[in-house]
């Protein structure tokens, strides 16, 4: 049963980017590509060879693989539809966060490895914004951990029920908001980044993978898609009541993933992205909101 969760995450990852694209093209009044277009693109990329710049070293060649590997391991830690994750141990969310950070670290140093001025700038931005979002994630997880008294993703989730108490609703709403924001920022979406832009000077994530091509690029894209559905899975895990039967849970999981993707596509269609300097402030605000949720839990659990 545990591995069914992995299957669900991979399935959600396959349709997630397509749904965002579809929503954006419908909102823009265009016909747009089909939902499976991103997958078809990946297939094309997988069949191609990679080209490596002569100025790069082995770091550049191993980075995409390591980045994807970290994401795949991270999936094993995520509980899906109230089933236990494949691995669960105390404090596994810290491991989860730093696994993803390890992948990001390799992507960043591979960008620096190319010696391109653009990629250097992108690496700088990516490192800064990842660093700023880290506190939000940990404060949020600490909030959940303190509320339930467990420190593993699977345990927290099994013991967390939003319907228990009215006060729980208050910090849950904040918590979900923070989680969605983290997902948007970690996956380089509007308003922090714009995955669609062609302008190197304004890019954050896109610019650091500018030199990757063919097979390696496909690995990076797969990693990005999976990351999306990991966050979608986390969000749904907290929403799905533990008592439901498995069929309803899976349906709700898929429903939440589709809803999440639709919301992202919709939000991206009707607003502009942030100014680059404003990003730091914007991301810190997410941490600030996480602190509010934390304080609410302190009060609820009579620790303050």
């Amino acid at each position: 049963m545990k591995f069914a969760g992995i299957f669900l995450i991979i399935m959600a990852a396959a349709i997630f980017p397509g749904i965002i694209l579809r929503v954006k093209s419908i909102a823009g009044g265009r016909k747009g590509p089909g939902i499976f277009q991103p997958l078809k693109d990946i297939r094309v990329l997988l069949m191609k060879g990679s080209v490596f710049s002569q100025t790069t070293s082995f770091i550049f060649q191993i980075a995409p693989t390591i980045a994807l590997a970290t994401v795949v391991i991270a999936i094993l830690l995520v509980p899906v539809a109230n089933q236990d994750a494949v691995f669960a141990f105390e404090g596994d969310f810290v491991f989860f966060a730093y696994l993803l950070a390890l992948g990001k670290f390799f992507t960043i140093i591979s960008a620096l490895d190319t010696g391109s001025a653009f990629e250097g700038m992108g690496a700088n931005r990516e490192a800064l914004f990842s660093m700023l979002i880290e506190p939000a994630f940990f404060i949020l997880l600490a909030t959940f951990a303190m509320f339930t008294g467990y420190t593993s993703f699977s345990d927290i989730m099994t013991h967390f029920h939003i319907t228990d108490n009215h006060y729980v609703m208050i910090f849950s709403i904040l918590g979900f908001y923070v989680l969605i924001q983290i997902a948007m920022i970690e996956n380089s979406r509007v308003p922090v980044d714009d995955p669609k832009t062609h302008l190197e000077l304004t890019m954050i994530h896109e610019v650091i993978i500018l030199d990757n091509s063919g097979f390696d690029k496909a690995l990076i894209h797969i990693g990005t898609f999976l990351k999306f559905s990991i966050y979608g899975a986390l969000i749904s895990s907290y929403l799905v009541p533990a008592g439901w039967n498995i069929g309803a849970q899976v349906a709700l999981f898929i429903g939440i993933q589709v809803f999440f993707a639709t919301i992202i596509g919709y939000l991206e269609s009707f607003r502009a992205r942030n100014k680059m300097v404003k990003n730091s402030q914007y991301i810190l605000t997410v941490s600030a909101i996480a602190i509010i949720a934390f304080v609410i839990v302190l009060i609820l659990t009579n620790k303050l």
């Binding site: 009707f270 607003r271 992205r273």
Partner: protein
């Protein structure tokens, strides 16, 4: 100072005999230019040199916004090797003209801050100046880094190299290197003695200003050939020019939205631009208006059916454009990307000699349609639209207001069109140009003033042709506007100016 030191052209386009242009010695030439250009209403529209026999003849044209006159004065010298005192040290806007003269003929200018090559023509004086090993301006520092962008860019834009010196995300200095698109149009204009070929060439100077350049060329040829065209044709030409302005302004609004990732603004404006350029296509078979402007007549006289369909398209476009621009310029996330970004001050605009939109966003009401009217603008001058803040928002708003104004103008003119007499005159390519004359023709394209000038020889053939696109000056304005901005805001600044690479490179 003697008044006879220059000759004044009172009507935009009128030719003068070459021998009537006073030839001054350089100190007088220099002092007179300095004095004339210190008047804030005056600006230099052409300053160039060309070889006549074994002399080098310098011609300078100063346009005055108040009097609508264009003062022409000249200077001749035999020996190119003498270093002339640079006007740039007094009037900075002259820097590009002097750089161009230096590049073409090796004339040295004393006190010129930076005789940087402009476009590396194949017959340049200093063959050793090669684009590939151009020494960019550098600042030695551990903290600063350089970012080079181009000449090949992401997306479909023209080639040009931008070299930034940045302190972190902040741009300290931007150096723009152009010339990759140099096609030698000015030389081709002389070599191709076929008037039809010249007309085609002039339409190809800048793909987004087909009508503006075509009209400047036609105006020049018609005045040198002493052709008068009917009022109806003049109105049609005005309509074509304003259609071009509307189409580009709306297209640029879309591009601005795209650069800040505002999808709705982008797609709506892209669709609206298409309806306008399709109207031009309906008229003449080409979406950019190629073939529409011809000397002496027109192959595509407007029909009642066309006018009717154009008016209904414009009506609908205006309604939808008003709707979407109201949204764009009230959406906080867009405003925060436009407001206060890439500010060009009025002082900088005056300093760099910015023309057209780049001048009008800083409150300088400079518009050739009013100050030196041409074609039907003579009967119907246009009041320039201005903004004062000089930022990306001002450039967006100016586009918005100008597009609306142009739609209004076209509506007014179509009424006049009905009163004007029908004229089915076909284009005339067998004209004879007035010999040994000089003429200058200015038009106001969507980007700013387009200036064509020509000198004719003994039997009326063109011996020198000079083109000035508004981008020639405005690139420097862009370089100043992005100083101390974030480098990630450069694309939106660049797009808001939307300068022409090939218009500069010729």
């Amino acid at each position: 100072m003697n008044e006879k030191n220059y000759i004044e052209i009172l009507n935009n386009g009128s030719p003068v005999l070459l021998k009537n242009i006073p030839v001054l010695n350089y100190p007088d030439f220099y002092n007179l230019l300095k004095e004339m250009l210190s008047d804030p209403d005056s600006h230099c529209v052409a300053y160039y040199a060309f070889p006549v026999e074994n002399m080098l003849k310098f011609i300078c044209c100063i346009a005055n916004d108040k009097t609508s006159g264009i003062a022409v004065l000249s200077h001749e010298q035999k020996n190119h090797e003498i270093a002339l005192l640079s006007l740039t040290s007094e009037i900075f806007a002259m820097h590009v003209y002097e750089r161009e003269i230096h590049e073409n003929f090796g004339v040295q200018f004393r006190n010129h801050p930076w005789l940087k090559p402009i476009r590396y023509p194949s017959d340049r004086f200093y063959k050793g100046n090669v684009m590939n090993n151009y020494p960019f301006y550098q600042i030695e520092s551990e903290e600063l880094h350089e970012v080079g962008v181009g000449p090949v860019h992401a997306g479909v834009i023209e080639p040009g190299h931008f070299r930034f010196i940045c302190n972190g995300e902040k741009v300290l200095h931007l150096e723009i290197q152009l010339g990759y698109q140099h096609r030698g149009i000015e030389k081709l204009m002389i070599q191709k003695n076929d008037p039809f070929q010249r007309m085609i060439l002039s339409e190809s100077i800048a793909g987004d200003s087909v009508i503006a350049h075509g009209l400047a060329h036609t105006g020049l040829i018609e005045s040198l050939a002493e052709h008068n065209v009917s009022e109806r044709l003049q109105i049609e030409r005005n309509i074509a020019l304003e259609l071009e302005r509307i189409a580009i302004h709306i297209g640029d609004t879309a591009a601005l939205c795209m650069d800040v990732a505002y999808q709705l603004g982008q797609v709506v404006n892209e669709a609206l631009r298409t309806t306008i350029i399709n109207t031009t296509q309906l008229w003449c078979g080409n979406r950019f208006g190629k073939g529409l402007i011809r000397p002496g007549g027109s192959n595509y006289p407007s029909t009642d059916d066309f006018i009717k369909s154009m008016l209904s398209t414009l009506e609908e476009t205006l309604r939808r454009y008003e709707d979407i621009t109201d949204r764009i310029y009230s959406l906080p996330s867009v405003l925060s990307r436009f407001d206060g970004i890439g500010i060009l001050t009025q002082g900088q605009a005056k300093l760099t000699g910015a023309v057209g939109m780049a001048a009008r966003i800083t409150g300088i009401a400079r518009d050739i349609r009013k100050s030196h009217p041409f074609q039907y603008f003579r009967q119907h001058p246009v009041e320039p639209v201005t903004q004062i803040s000089g930022d990306v928002l001002a450039r967006g708003m100016l586009r918005n207001l100008e597009a609306r104004q142009s739609i209004g103008l076209i509506k007014q003119w179509t009424k006049k069109l009905n009163e004007a007499e029908e004229s089915n005159k076909k284009p005339d390519y067998n004209y004879k140009l007035q010999p040994e004359s000089f003429a200058i023709s200015l038009t106001e394209g969507w980007r700013g003033e387009v200036c064509h000038s020509a000198v004719t020889g003994k039997n009326g053939n063109i011996i020198h042709y000079k083109i000035k696109d508004p981008s020639f000056h405005n690139w420097m304005a862009l370089a100043l506007a992005v100083r101390n901005q974030e480098i990630s805001d450069f694309p939106v600044c660049n797009k808001s100016f939307n300068l022409s690479y090939c218009g500069n490179d010729l």
